[in-house]
Amino acid sequence: MRNQLGKTISLGHGSGGKLSHELTGNLFVRYFNNEILAPQTDSAIVKVNRENLAFTTDSFVVDPLFFPGGDIGKLAVCGTVNDLAVSGAIPLFMSASFIIEEGFGMDQLETIVKSMAEESRMAGIKIVAGDTKVVDHGQCDKLFINTTGIGVIDPERIHISTGANIRYGDKIIVNGTVGDHGVAILSARESLSFESKLETDCACLNHLIADVLKKTDKIRFMRDATRGGLATVLCELAADKSFGIELDEVGIPVKEGVKGMCEIFGFDPLYMANEGKAVIVVAVEAAGDVVSLLRKDPIGKNCSVIGEIVEDHPGQVVLKTEIGGKRIVDMLAGEQLPRIC
């Protein structure tokens, strides 16, 4: 097993792509082994008394702490809320733990905490527990945040996080342009003397998703496309399944600025991180309704049908390229950009 994982941890193990999956599967899931962890969904679905709860955790190590359109605090709240929301749950409570480097500015910390407070109020989730640790200068980089989140989930919606009800012909929708967060971070990095006006898409999706779930019971799967981007989510979805995924490159919304930055740096927008994008698989007959509903919301107005579930090439994601060629889409291998969230 160790051979398979390599001898040391590399940045690729935190990329959300292939290496992360191998590490999670071959180490964590292997040793923690239980039926709730096994499906590796965005939130664990646990039953307490007669209530179904969605339970999630996340850590935030983004560099820099402040970037166009957001900061680590907003990211921490949105990331946690979205993991619950895409599982079909209503987010209720969260915790926030801070690991802070000695010497970190109190003003900056307050700005971040205020931003968390504001974002959580808007999302309707309460931050009800927390912890603070301070480490010597140089022993962590400025500030790391860890969160947990809890929500309640209707038993009818438990299938959403695993995609157990997916059928051939289902449509795949994304609620807006992909790659915005990755490019916002890229452009904010000090080492890049590159300025762009692109902002992160960091946003809580729970209200939007609640509207969609109210409108239709034909949602077959949802996941937020964070690290590893759209491609990784779809590869995870198709892996070891009896269906394939066909994507249409022309349908995938990407901002011009994001395309441009990706061209320059040799990145692929399909693998660039998002922090406010849900991939939604919906029955073909409900796809039109979902699209028109999403379009009414500012964080869904650029939504698009990007592909469908097919019988061909089971387990694989195939992209119809903009020039009409075909190629496979694989999980992110290695690391595109470390410390993106």
């Binding site: 390599g6 020039i323 694989d330």
Partner: protein, 359 residues
């Protein structure tokens, strides 16, 4: 995106593909020499648009891929010195050497920094006057002028802590070596960016001596399809020659200023290529005037004995003799997460492109 979308036009791409189908009679194999071309070919799914009788082979034009193990081993040895900061393009860091890689040394604490340009490396040197900053110079005629410019700048500013470990190479010797080895080819899709610097003259020998056409191509799918079409026409008319498809960037005599800079700073030397061995006058090393910046001679290190990875057929792949799927290590043992050979590491490597887009 303006100036890009025009070259990704579906109707036009399909039209050229039909023309290629109509005008080609027999089986033809063309080599896309440049790693950037390999990537675009796979990313846009170009082979799926071509008739089966037209084969595209990936060539030795991925700078990371052709950098030899001994170059990686020396970089690793340099990175182990406490007084050295290594600056490098990202891909190179993951290339396995004989027993380690820069990535592994970084995890153990070596100061290795990814830069996007050699100018960033100069900045690191200025910010760290007590350290010796080594820039790992890889790439062909396209990137070598930027290293040359950095050396000039370091010289003018009398910097004494900036060094270049040059693995810069020039393209034509490798293309001639392949033809000499008898690789079955009908023409080259030649690297567009190399010729923005060098112009067309460097390929003169190839049609004359080897009867192989060279079409200097852009990097968008319509560029590549048009280049393939031009090569098909040359083959069908039995008229191999050097042609420019990438006219919006390439002039016949290239970029004189960049060429002058290359001349001034570098001198041709024999160099190691992964898979091809030592090619005469194929590498660019610093001239004596700039010896003080030469990391090979100015910083003493013990470099381990070079060992090539077992079972890896990168060499044959770089020569177009085999394709990545012929390699026993492909996918199961060697993949972008745990690469064995350099062709799996680089974004522009043939194995990486096949793995990502073609498996």
């Amino acid at each position: 995106m303006k100036y890009i979308d025009e070259y990704r036009d579906k109707a036009l791409a399909e039209k050229i593909a039909r023309e290629i189908d109509r005008s080609s009679t027999g089986p033809l194999s063309f080599m896309e020499v440049c790693g950037g071309h390999t990537m675009a070919v796979r990313k846009f799914g170009i082979p799926s648009l071509l008739p089966d009788r037209i084969r595209l082979l990936s060539g030795p034009g991925c700078p990371v891929c052709v950098s030899s193990n001994r170059f990686i081993d020396r970089s690793v040895a340099l990175s182990r010195r406490d007084d050295v900061i290594i600056t490098s393009f990202g891909d190179l860091i993951r290339v396995p050497g004989s027993s380690s890689s820069l990535e592994k040394e970084k995890a153990k604490g070596a100061d290795i920094r990814v830069v996007y340009s050699v100018l960033d490396a100069l900045r690191v040197a200025k910010d760290n006057p007590l350290k010796r900053i080594v820039f790992l110079g890889i790439g062909f005629e396209t990137t070598a002028p930027t290293s040359a410019a950095a050396i000039r700048k370091a010289f003018e500013q009398k910097m004494n802590n900036f060094f270049l470990l040059s693995a810069h190479k020039i393209m034509p010797p490798a293309m001639e070596a392949l033809a000499d080895e008898g690789v079955k080819l009908n023409g080259y899709i030649a690297p567009g960016h190399v010729s923005t610097i060098t112009g067309t003259g460097i390929y003169k020998n190839i049609p004359e001596k080897y009867g192989l056409g060279c079409v200097i191509s852009g990097f968008e799918p319509v560029d590549l399809l048009q280049s393939i079409y031009m090569l098909v026409k040359q083959c069908e008319e039995n008229n191999p020659k050097v042609e420019i498809q990438y006219k919006r960037a390439v002039k016949e005599d290239g970029n004189r200023k960049a060429l002058q800079l290359l001349q001034e700073v570098f001198v041709l030397a024999d160099d190691w290529w992964r898979g091809l061995g030592v090619l005469k006058n194929s590498g660019l090393q610093l001239r004596e005037t700039y010896e003080q910046f030469n990391a090979f001679t100015m910083i003493d290190v013990d470099v381990e004995e070079t060992k090539e990875p077992k079972g890896c057929i990168c060499g044959e792949i770089l020569k177009g003799l085999k394709n990545p799927k012929d390699c026993k290590l492909f996918s199961a043992v060697c993949n972008p997460s745990l690469p064995v050979g350099a062709c799996m590491v680089s974004n522009e490597g043939a194995c990486n492109a096949w793995y990502r887009y073609n498996r």
